[in-house]
């Protein structure tokens, strides 16, 4: 069951007015342009026992992602496919609003939006993760760990997720004659076939703010998350929050997001390049 958040501080109406009036002049509280991201940083290989990991920072927002690859069973209806599980933890470290406990609807929504944006375009080639068809496959656990929440968790989580997947080395599993599986060979990169990034737009009335900070999110009506693959195809989309959107503003929102996705892709590419063996 989903319930209107009621345990929240009162929304500062004055702040909303300020942000709206700044927006009319094309600027924001932190001096950014309406279509400007905060500084973005992606660091790969931040957790040594993970098979792959990354830390994404957008402004003060910090999201870590870690990948573990294990042997498991395929889904009954997909016997020749490995398994990808995406989990998000909104850690209580990250915000005074986050309480310890199992993932709530916000964590689940975040995980599922990222899951779809990875799964639908086939970012991980799951057909390449089969050991014994119908019996044993590789299960990829992608755990997204939100450490510091200063707004725009979707884009940071997406970036961390892609970074971690691209950083992942799969242990060299081999199937023995008796059907047992052992790690014998050298590790190999996870088969990642595409790169995906997301662009989030905050909605305040008729104003669009790219990469909303927490301060901006709190007074927003909601947001739109667009996920793109490296070729610019739309591979995910989510209206999140109680906002409504004018029918004729959907196109402009899409165009705004489309104009930004390459920036994030560049961050991703750069960090991979820095990280790859020379």
């Amino acid at each position: 069951m989903s319930i209107t958040p009621f345990n929240i501080p009162i929304i500062p109406k004055l702040k909303r007015e300020t942000i709206l009036s700044l927006a009319k002049r094309g600027t924001r509280i932190d001096k950014r342009r309406l279509d400007q991201y905060r500084p973005i940083k992606l660091t790969l290989g931040v957790a040594g026992k993970a098979h792959g990991s990354a830390l994404a920072e957008i402004g003060n927002t910090k999201v870590m992602a870690g990948v573990k690859v294990e042997v498991g069973r395929p889904f009954k209806d997909l016997p020749e496919m490995g398994v990808l599980n995406v989990n998000v933890e909104l850690l209580p470290l990250a915000s005074s609003e986050f309480e310890p406990g199992p993932p709530d609807e916000n964590a689940i929504e975040l995980a599922r939006v990222i899951d779809r944006a990875l799964r639908e375009p086939g970012v991980v080639d799951l057909s390449d993760l089969v050991l014994i068809p119908g019996e044993k496959v590789l299960v990829v656990w992608l755990d997204i760990y939100v450490l510091d929440h200063d707004g725009n968790l979707f884009d940071a989580a997406m970036l961390a997720a892609m970074g971690a997947l691209l950083n992942t080395k799969v242990p060299g599993y081999e199937v023995r004659e008796d059907g047992s599986v052992e790690v014998t060979g050298p590790p190999r990169p996870l088969p990642v076939t595409k790169r995906v990034v997301s662009v989030t737009i905050g909605i305040l009335g008729n104003v669009f703010l790219v990469d909303p900070s927490l301060e901006e999110e709190v007074v927003s009506d909601g947001k739109l998350v667009f996920a793109f693959d490296e070729g610019g195809k739309l591979v995910g989309l989510q209206k999140s929050g109680p906002a409504w959107l004018d029918l004729d503003r959907a196109g402009p929102a899409f165009n705004l997001a489309y104009s930004k996705y390459k920036e994030l892709l560049d961050v991703l590419e750069k960090s991979i390049a820095e990280n790859s063996p020379k």
Binding site: M1, I3, K233
Partner: protein, 241 residues
């Protein structure tokens, strides 16, 4: 979007597997006031997808403190009957149901005049009796009818429908087969009288130029469904023809 091939062609000679054209909705039936206890209720069938919605409230919160000083709290549950799906569904809420309850609640928050009922709770419960594609948009359409049946003031009725992509072509109101073997599923819900979108998601892959096109198709469907909503309400309550 399973990566597997469809057992039947999804498009053949411009017709879909069930004989519909790309812009055809499935047959729709709606009823309101079908439950005795609920303050408002509705039943909706679109193709083989079937949902029941009930509304309770505005009423006292079930738990102390579950209120807001300036408006009503909305509680929303989208839930599937264990026998509504191909394989029996565990009745405990799945992650999918939790997400859909959230996006449906957020869609309804945009239309309900919650500020008229501070310190109360409005409950919207939807059960999927049969799932054959488009359950979330059916749920929101039925929920909106149940809210109207309960006499809860709204900025406008909400209607929803999904646009899908099958064999490279956009089609309206996809069913489960088209969802499963198609390339994309974009559910949209909105208030047609105000031209406001209140729910928008995408599961799958589309080209940039297809986005406005898909949205336009969805809106055509939404307007048709909205006309049916008005009709069923008018039959019971008169007016608003």
């Amino acid at each position: 979007m399973s990566g597997k091939e469809s057992p039947v062609p999804l498009l053949k000679d411009g017709k879909r597997h069930d004989g519909r054209g790309p812009m055809d909705l499935r047959p729709i039936e709606m009823k309101i006031g079908i439950l005795h206890n609920a303050d408002g209720s509705a039943w909706l069938k679109i193709g083989k997808t079937e949902v029941v919605a009930a509304v309770y409230g505005p009423r006292e919160p079930p738990m102390k403190g579950m209120v807001l000083p300036d408006r009503a709290v909305i509680r929303c549950r989208y839930h599937m009957a264990p026998f509504s799906t191909e394989e029996r569904k565990n009745p405990a809420p799945s992650r999918r149901e939790i997400e859909l309850s959230k996006v449906i609640r957020e869609a309804l928050e945009a239309t309900i005049l919650t500020h008229l009922f501070p310190r109360t709770v409005i409950d919207v419960f939807v059960e999927v009796i049969q799932a054959d594609g488009g359950t979330r948009t059916a749920a929101i359409t039925a929920a909106s009818l149940a809210l109207a049946d309960a006499g809860i003031p709204m900025r406008g009725l909400v209607a929803g429908v999904a646009v899908g992509k099958v064999q490279g072509k956009l089609v309206l109101d996809i069913d489960e087969l088209e969802d499963m073997y198609g390339e994309a599923d974009m559910p949209v819900a909105g208030i047609p009288t105000l031209n406001k979108i209140v729910l928008l998601q995408l599961n799958g892959v589309i080209e940039p130029h297809e986005f406005p096109q898909a949205l336009k198709m969805a809106w055509e469907g939404i307007k048709k469904i909205h006309a049916l909503q008005k009709k069923v309400l008018a039959t019971k309550y008169g007016g608003e023809q």
